[in-house]
Each structure stands twice: as structure tokens, then as C-alpha cells.
Symmetry: D3
Subunit: 143 residues, 6 copies
């Protein structure tokens, strides 16, 4: 009467990776300063083009210095955005991964609670604004 | 061959508000330091209990000092979360409102672009992690 | 600097409908007791199979007596479900249509406010339960 | 090759709760007439402000008599809304909890099936109305 | 500290099905050329009307020849749509089922990777287009 | 009593683009064989890094030959995925754009209707599978 989340495809094992895939796996471990390649990357590695596109994008945005870029947001704010999106979408893998990342960055559970409370609040007010089809008050002035 | 977003219910006009509703309208203007009551609040004011519950929650989380609370996150980070959630949910009213708030807080369009790029990235990786049913690597250690 | 929602496909005009499509259009007007065919039905009529499948399903569930079926839920509860789903999904067309239907059934704006408040609340708690990956307390006993 | 849902944060144990948290835990058990505090509440209790805000809102809307308020909707309709939202969002914890609540209120599996069929139907028609960008027929007349 | 997905309702066992339900169960096995009735169908069979409506719709669209209809899309394209929707919604049951169906149709893991990459890409660009409230360039010309 | 979708940020005009942005604008027009740069690209160009990352990804996946890659899916299937995702997410800009693209590729309105009907169907069955927390039948065999 119970069932687990079942991965639909076998991830590429690190020792099976060759060529461009092996090089990206090495870059992931070096850039993130971890000693294993997370399952997300080993899974999308089954299509090497996909691996390269997603890693290039994530490296540029989440590890900007390693990509030779000066970011506008600090690492904690970037991870908070990641968690806010993942919680809104209910993505188990990403929620686990970004909560762990925030913890590693020193965010304690009360701050995590404040993040979640705000994420929850705006999921509520989004529903109200949509549910009543409320019309905008403002024309944002950004040029 | 075209049609507008149509509010489903007529908002309460400020000059029609009395009692608890008028008091909350005044508190909204004072707390947010604005000279009108936004349509969201005037709409949910059609049910005064709802107005009070949503305002109490939003005031405590987004205007913590006014609610007598010391926050853990700064105002810009809080508005970034609001925009990340609203963009993920595609809520027009909230996207307009929180983009304007970030602009008022001094966020420029390149920073807004970095926020959006990160929000977009994690909507992509959330889909991949869900779409392959990828299993978690980590047990987050938060106690 | 402004833009409207733009229908992607021209709906079938009532006077252009023939055969099975015309028969379903007539059934829609008779069953719903209205004197025009709403745009949803005229649009999906561009694929007559789709029109038949969706109308058969909606008629059976939302107009059960007309479909020769005894429902378990009353009409107002059924429309409340429709609005709760549509507000959660942010579907403009459906929010307008089901709010109007509830109004026709005698629901006033304070009750609408209670519905919306509950819809908003559970969009908030869903986010919290997902965002913390909270594990279930209960095994529902329904056999 | 299998993995469980993993809570990201350790809930507060009932015997560890003190002060305002202990008082809310007691109010939850009394109001809901249950002999344990569900994991949702024990988890958000890691941030006591969040616990208070969410419980105040949920108590007012879902246990209105306990909050000194006269509701417009009956308890079964309120739980049906909760399930409709939770099913639409795919929130496991909430689906389990609100299905159990409906069962306790005497809803049998055929009625549950009618609820689900209607929730499913409007997730389908929402997609069609959005997918064709169908323009509204009506201006809802609610004042 | 771990928990499984828990079905909220006991599915109808094949040997317990009678009448219209048994006939649909037989039609499902014959049409899909499988020797068991999947859990989705056995679960919604707890409300026979729901079973009939959903099966009629799915048979017409996904097994059109069995329903006496000439489809416009081939079986692989139809399953790709099913997977794209299910991945976007994060529906575990459906992701598993439609990935298996694509595999049975001969889709290899690199093609699956291309499908997923495209699904992920448009979840990203959808968020960007919504997040900036970008206004349409085109009036689609479909008549 | 009506309001338009309001872009939150002024797109970069083609004649204002310089350097890397101008080069990408030219590549977009050449690759897509169009004589203007769509608003999506001109908007995200306000952050040139974002423009480059999203265009590189979209070019590789949707214009693979221009990116020097042999695709596994044909252009129509790729656009069908784009529309299925966009309809599920309710993204107006993307729905308009991908419906127009499919039309240009020769898809007629009856085929569009079949696509939409299948997209709608699986949004319904996803909700049912999630709403009952149905447990998977299969372990997909993809290696």
C-alpha cells in the first residue's frame, strides 16, 4: 500500500563518463567544491547537449565568479530565490537540495521559517489577485 | 477580437469604508507610506474578516517593524521573494506591484534581469528534476 | 505600451455551425438555459471531436439531471469547486465565468470572499507543506 | 533505486514546546479535537511568528465558531475547497490530510469521486481556455 | 524520518469489478493490449461515472483507431504531449507511466533527453514572459 | 473598469542595441528568418548575460541545425511541446507565439484542436493521479 518516487532513467555513473561529459562532471565538482556529482547532473548527462546547456546556464548564474562574471546578488539571495521557486512548484529534489545549500551558507531554521512564511504568503495573495482578476494599480517605471 | 482582464467584483471605495475596514485602510496607507489603498486590499475588503487576516499576515512579514517584530531578511530580499513567487505563478497584478516595489527600493533593470534569470533557471531545473523523478542526494541537516 | 489577451483561433459562429456541432450548440443553450453559446464552446468546436468529449463530460458532471444522473453535490458546491480550481490556476476566462455562475445562484460577495479566503489559505499551506517536504500524519481510511 | 520524501527540517516535538508555541499546540488539539499536533504545525513552529500567523488564519476560516465568527459555508464545503486546491497543486501532505477530514465528515468514496471528477474537469477546461486564450463572455455583476 | 506517497483510497480490485466497471476494465486491457488494469483506472472506478467519462475521453484521443476515429497526430507525438504536460505539472504517476509508454514506442534516452530539455526550456521562457508581463508580438492568423 | 497586461520593463529597441546584444539580435533574425526581434528577446536584453544564456539554449534546442547539431525531433514536434507547456502554464505571450509558429509550419485548426484536447486531457488525469495520490504501476526500464 506504499510506493516510492521512482527515477525514470538510470543516471550516468561517474566512472562511466567520458569526453565532454567527464569534463563537465569534473567542473561541477570543482565549481561546487563537492566530491560527488549530484543525481540531477548525472541524469541529464544521458543527453550530453542538455547537460552542457543546463550547466552553462547554472554556472553563469549561480557560480558567477567561476564563470568570470560579477554578480549583482549575493549567494544567499540567489539560493533563497531557488528555494522560493522550488517550494512554489513543489519540486522535492530541488527543495531538498536548496534547503541544504542555504543551511551550508549559515541560514538557521528561524530564517528559513521567515523565507517560507513569505513564500506562502505570496502564494496566497497571488491566488487572491488572480481569483478576483484584480486590475493593476501601477505602471512600473523601470526603463 | 480583443478583451481585457475584468475584475470580478467591485472594490470598496475608500470613501465608503467604515469601522474596522476604514481603520485597516488607514493602517495600510500609513504602514506602506502611500496615499491610496491598492485595489487588492479594496477588493478583499468586501469580506472584512478576509481583509483583516491577510493584512495582519502581510504586515507582520513585509512590514515587521510596524508590527513590532525584528525581521531576519532585509526589505529587498523580501520583495525579491515576492517577485520570484509571483513570476512563477504568472500573477499579473502581483508582478506589476512587486516589480514597482523593487524599483522603489533602488533595484535597477540589470539586477532585475539577474533575478528573473535565476527564477527562470529554477523553473527549468524544477521541471527536469520532476520530469525525470530524480531522487534526492541529501538529507538536509537542519535541526 | 499595452496589450490585450488575444484569442489564438477564431471561434465558430453559431450561424456557421452544422450537423453534430449545431446539435451540441443547441444542447448547450437548452441545458444551461442561456441564449448564446459561450466562446469556450465555440472555440473548441473547431475540432468537433473535442467539442463532443468536453461537453459530454461537463454535462454529466455539472448538469447531471440533464444527463440522466443523480448528483451527490448540489449546484452551488459544484460551482465553488470550479472557482477554487480556476482561481488556483489563474484562468481568467474560467474565473469570470464561474464567478458569474455563483452570483446567478445567489452567492453574495461576502460568501465569495469566504470562498476566496479559503482558496488562498490552502494555496499558502500547500506551499508550506511542499516547501518543507512535510511527511503525512495519516493513512486515510477510505475503502 | 528508490527514495522517500524527506522532511527538510525536524519538527518541534510536543514535549519540547514552551510559551506561545505550547499554547498554540494546545489550542490546535482542543480546536480540532485531536490528541496530537500534526506535523505541519510542529514544523512551522520552528518559526513561532509563522506558526501564529498561519494558525490564526486557519482557525478563523476553518474553525470559525472557535474563533467567534459565524461562517457562510458549512464544514464539508470548506474541506471540499481545501481538497480541490490541494489536488490541483498536487500537495501530498494536504491531499492526505483533507481526504481524511472529508472522510471523518461522512463523505463516502463515490462523493469523493464526484469531487475529484469535477476538480479534474476544470483543470482540463482551464487549460483549454488558457491554451486558446479565450476571451471572456461576461462581466460578472457582483457589486 | 521518511514517508511514502500514500494512496488516499483503495482501488477496485479487478476480481471485484462487475457490470459497467468490469466491461470498461476489459476494454482498457484490450485497447491498451496489457494484462492488468493500471491503478489510475482502478482508483477512479470507485465512482463508475467518472471511470466512464475519463476512459471515453482518453480512448478517443489516445487510442483513436479503437474509438473509430482517424487521428491527426501519431502515437509517439501524443505520448510526448502527455509527458510534457506531466513533467510540467510534476505528476509522479503520469511521468512514470508516459515515460514507460515512450520507451515501449522505441524512444531512446537521448531523445527523451531532447524532449525534457525542450520542456525545461519552455518552462523557463514561460516564466520570463510572464515575469516581465511581455506583450504579444503577433496576432495568430488561424481561422 | 478594465486593464491591460502591462509590461514591467521597457524592451531594448533594435536601433539602441550595440555590441554583443546587437550581434545576438542579428543572429535571432537570421536564425528565425524574421525581420524584427520579438519582445521577449528585446526585454531580456536589458541584462545581456541573460539574453546570451537563453538564446544559446533556445537556439541549440529549437534551431539545432543553425547551432551545428542534429536533432532527434522534427520542428513541428518541438513546437507542439512548446505549446503544450505554455498552455499548461497559461503563458499568454508564449501561447500566442507558439500557436503562430505551428500555423506557419502548416498545422491546421483541427490538428491544433487535437493537440489542445490531449493537453487538456492530461491536465485532467494529472490532477486525478495526484488528487488520489495514486501509486505507480511501473518501473520504467530506460537505461
Amino acid at each position: 500500500m506504499s510506493a516510492d518516487r521512482i527515477a525514470t532513467i538510470r543516471p550516468v555513473e561517474e566512472h562511466d563518463a567520458t569526453g565532454a561529459v567527464a569534463a563537465i562532471f569534473a567542473d561541477i565538482k570543482r565549481t561546487k567544491n563537492i566530491d560527488f556529482v549530484p543525481a540531477l547532473w548525472r541524469t541529464i548527462a544521458t543527453n550530453p547537449v542538455q547537460l552542457e546547456l543546463v550547466w552553462t546556464t547554472l554556472k553563469a548564474l549561480m557560480h558567477p565568479e567561476a564563470a568570470g562574471r560579477t554578480p549583482r546578488l549575493d549567494p544567499t539571495t540567489r539560493e533563497i530565490i531557488a528555494l522560493a521557486v522550488s517550494a512554489t512548484n513543489g519540486c522535492s529534489y530541488c527543495i531538498n537540495s536548496h534547503t541544504a545549500a542555504l543551511c551550508k551558507l549559515g541560514v538557521d531554521r528561524e530564517t528559513l521559517g521567515e523565507i517560507m512564511a513569505i513564500v506562502g504568503l505570496f502564494n496566497m495573495t497571488n491566488t487572491l489577485a488572480n481569483g478576483y482578476q484584480i486590475e493593476p494599480d501601477v505602471k512600473p517605471p523601470l526603463d
